[in-house]
């Protein structure tokens, strides 16, 4: 047992860190530090910088642009990226539909979609949740009826993140309603420009527009856009959701935010005393750091065990990463809001082209919206309560 990084891993970390230091455009880094959402253009720019370096999709098979790095190096890369802090490549493409396509798709689909995902030529969004299918995802009602060489899709998806930018959506749709609910679902790739698709924004409590409703009204999807076998979509969805949990601890993001909290808390003063020197505050901060260190070690245990695990079988321990990772990220947003104090109050909606001055210190305006927005992370990707069900069943054997 040696929990230290090897010299080679340390050299790799330095290389990655140096690349992020020099290659990430300053305007994007600034936005990330200050808690603003990167724009579509920012993400495209950054994804193409990564892709040009050959680092857009490190975890993919080498023949499709992967790097062949060990799980530990993959972890280091992600951790450094988050701490830069740089935007993460669009998960719907590189972490969700990409792995489904290279694992279950046919050669034509791989050739057609994978390079465009890596370069963010295609912006993907996720068509899973429906108004009546959240945690009970398999009860989804959107239908896809085969007619000749097409599927005719009807129904509604919701919580579709960044669908307003999307070129493509990957969807779960019911192709057989006569069988058990999990056995009649198929996985379809749908061009967002197809007639019959309507995207309607949902404003969230932070005032932002990240999620949408997507309506399908007799949308004709070429049958060649079915991934794998008809009615096997649930298996692919479980595979996708398992992958989603692996990176979900986002330890680097919490590290970056705690660093920010520490910096700002040494600027803010209560009387003459910097907030960071108030024992109550710094103990609260230290307590979060301890939890984060524990989670980092847990994450590394999962990473180290990865090479021994059967391919495509997620580690049920990754449910810990989801639960603690989201709790800790949320705790960091609370700390940040506490640092900001009264200047958490003014509301500045993030609108394109807005250039009025901010009321209060310019770093204060994102604190409350981030806190509000990040309540989502214990809900999405399988709510924390669902994760506890998974631990109870898959690990404790209830």
């Amino acid at each position: 047992m040696d929990l230290r990084f090897t010299d080679e891993e340390l050299a790799f970390r330095d290389e990655v860190r140096e690349f992020f230091r020099t290659a990430l455009p300053d305007s994007i880094r600034r936005k990330m530090i200050e808690g603003h959402h990167p724009s579509k253009d920012d993400l495209v720019t950054w994804s193409r910088i990564l892709n040009a370096k050959g680092w857009a999709v490190p975890h993919w098979p080498v023949e499709w642009g992967g790097t062949g790095w060990s799980p530990v190096k993959q972890y280091i890369f992600r951790d450094e990226l988050q701490q830069a802090p740089a935007p993460e490549p669009l998960a719907f493409g590189v972490s969700m539909v990409g792995p489904v396509i290279y694992t279950f798709g046919n050669d034509e689909q791989k050739r057609r979609f994978l390079p465009r995902i890596a370069n963010l030529d295609d912006w993907w969004c996720q068509g899973f949740s429906e108004p009546g299918a959240g945690s009970d995802l398999a009860s989804l009602k959107t239908t896809a009826k085969r007619e000749g060489d097409f599927y005719i899709v009807n129904g509604q998806k919701t919580w579709t993140t960044l669908a307003q930018h999307a070129d493509w959506i990957f969807c779960l749709a019911r192709t057989d309603s006569a069988v058990k609910k999990q056995e009649g679902i198929s996985f379809l790739l749908i061009d967002m420009k197809t007639p019959g698709i309507t995207v309607r924004p949902i404003q969230t409590i932070d005032g932002g527009h990240e999620v949408n409703e997507v309506f399908f009204d007799d949308v004709r999807v070429p049958a060649e856009n079915l991934v794998g076998q008809e009615n096997k979509g649930w298996d692919y969805a479980k595979f996708l959701l398992g992958n989603e949990r692996v990176g979900i601890a986002r330890i680097g993001i919490s590290k970056a935010r705690l660093k920010r909290v520490r910096e700002l808390a040494s600027l803010e003063r209560i009387g003459d005393v910097p907030l960071i020197e108030i024992p109550r505050f710094r103990e609260k901060l230290a307590a979060v750091e301890v939890e984060l260190k524990a989670l980092e070690m847990t994450q590394l245990r999962v990473v180290a065990a990865e090479s021994r695990r059967e391919k495509g079988k997620p580690d049920p321990a990754s449910s810990i990463l989801k639960i603690k990772g989201s709790e800790i990220q949320q705790a960091t947003t609370e700390l940040l809001m506490e640092v900001v104090g009264p200047f958490a109050m003014p509301y500045h909606p993030e609108e394109e082209g807005r250039n009025e001055p901010i009321d209060g210190p310019d770093w204060a305006s994102t604190a409350a919206p981030t806190y509000f927005n990040w309540r989502k992370i214990s809900i999405y990707g399988g709510s924390n309560e669902i994760q506890k069900n998974i631990i109870a069943k898959a690990i404790l054997g209830f």
Binding site: M1, D2, L3, R4, F5, T6, E9, V72, K255, L258, K259, R262, P279, R282, E283, L285, A286, A287, E289, V290, E291, L292, K293, A294, L295, E296, M297, T298, L300, R301, V303, A304, A305, A317, I320, I323, K324, E385, Q387, K388, N389, I391, A392, I395, L396, G397, F398
Partner: protein, 382 residues
Amino acid sequence: MDFDLSEEQRLLKDSVDRLMADRYDFESRQRYAKEPEGWSKELWSAYAELGLLALPFDEAHGGFGGGPVETMAIMEAFGRSLALEPYLATVILGGGLLQHGGSEEQKSAYLPQIASGDLRLAFAHTERQSRYDLFDVGTAAQRDGGSFVLNGQKSVVLHGDSADKILVTARVAGSRRDRDGIGLFLLDANAPGVSRRGYPTQDGQRAAEVTLESVRVDAENVIGNPEGALPVVEKVTDIAIAALTAEAIGAMDEMLKLTVDYLKTRKQFNTTIGSFQVLQHRSSEMFIALEQGRSMAMFAAMMAQEQNAEERRKAISAAKVQIGRSGRFVGQQAIQLHGGVGMTMEYKVGHLFKRVTMIDTLFGDADHHLSKLAETGGLMAA
């Protein structure tokens, strides 16, 4: 980055696990507790035969050169079985102080005796006023030619009643809360002027109140620099904390196992109570607390050997915070989920709960270490 045990470590772990499974079921443990010393001499010999008592010492002194990872494997097994023997007091603390602070002569004289099971030690540091501050030492050591004369009182000396020799911190110079001026002395437990009052602890172990009245210690029994022993004391207590975190993990793991087994068999409302989601979720939360603790026990084992003392102390404090919090949650929930049965003295889970509760109070509880960590700039600033 490698979380696996080496082949040798695995063999060690298997043999300790087997020994404890064969000879340390709960009924045996309760029987051992009634023996005159409060623990089993027979098991102590078995530990010696397995080489456990020699494990952390240099090969030159009859040891096996084992590190914190080997200690972790042993302590986890001891935690699971609620072992009563003075392993921490003798091997980790006493042996550790000699190994890290003693002269070549002292090591040659005593480490082989510990290894063979013939010498038992205790470490006396706590005083009525000191709480968890190792540097708060009022016990006086007055120079008298080449020797020292000790006066003072030490409290909660783990296994102090059955020890053959006692290592004592005492102040040679400076005022009570100075970091400098502290010496470490090795006393014969029956030396003139040493009086001991042994008593049981809440977790079924033993401790003693030790009073020192004009106890003479010769130069050959001074451990290290007589005015600069604190760094060694801190280093060895950090190693001991790492060992305790592993023991706590063993105990927590056993509590979770007993609890889950109980939920799967206990029936109410015509069904096993483990079918209720509220209890499944609570069990999942116990599992998370346990695994977060286990991660930090591993971190502590890794950092116990860190050369940079400040980094080491921060890491050990962080681990103690996590273990304190995880232990409290897992322990309280284990009792709660067992219901009335968990409250009874005849059932194991309550004893495990009491042990992890007492581990929190050893060498600084979660709050003590959190405030130490916060004062020194936190973990991430590192």
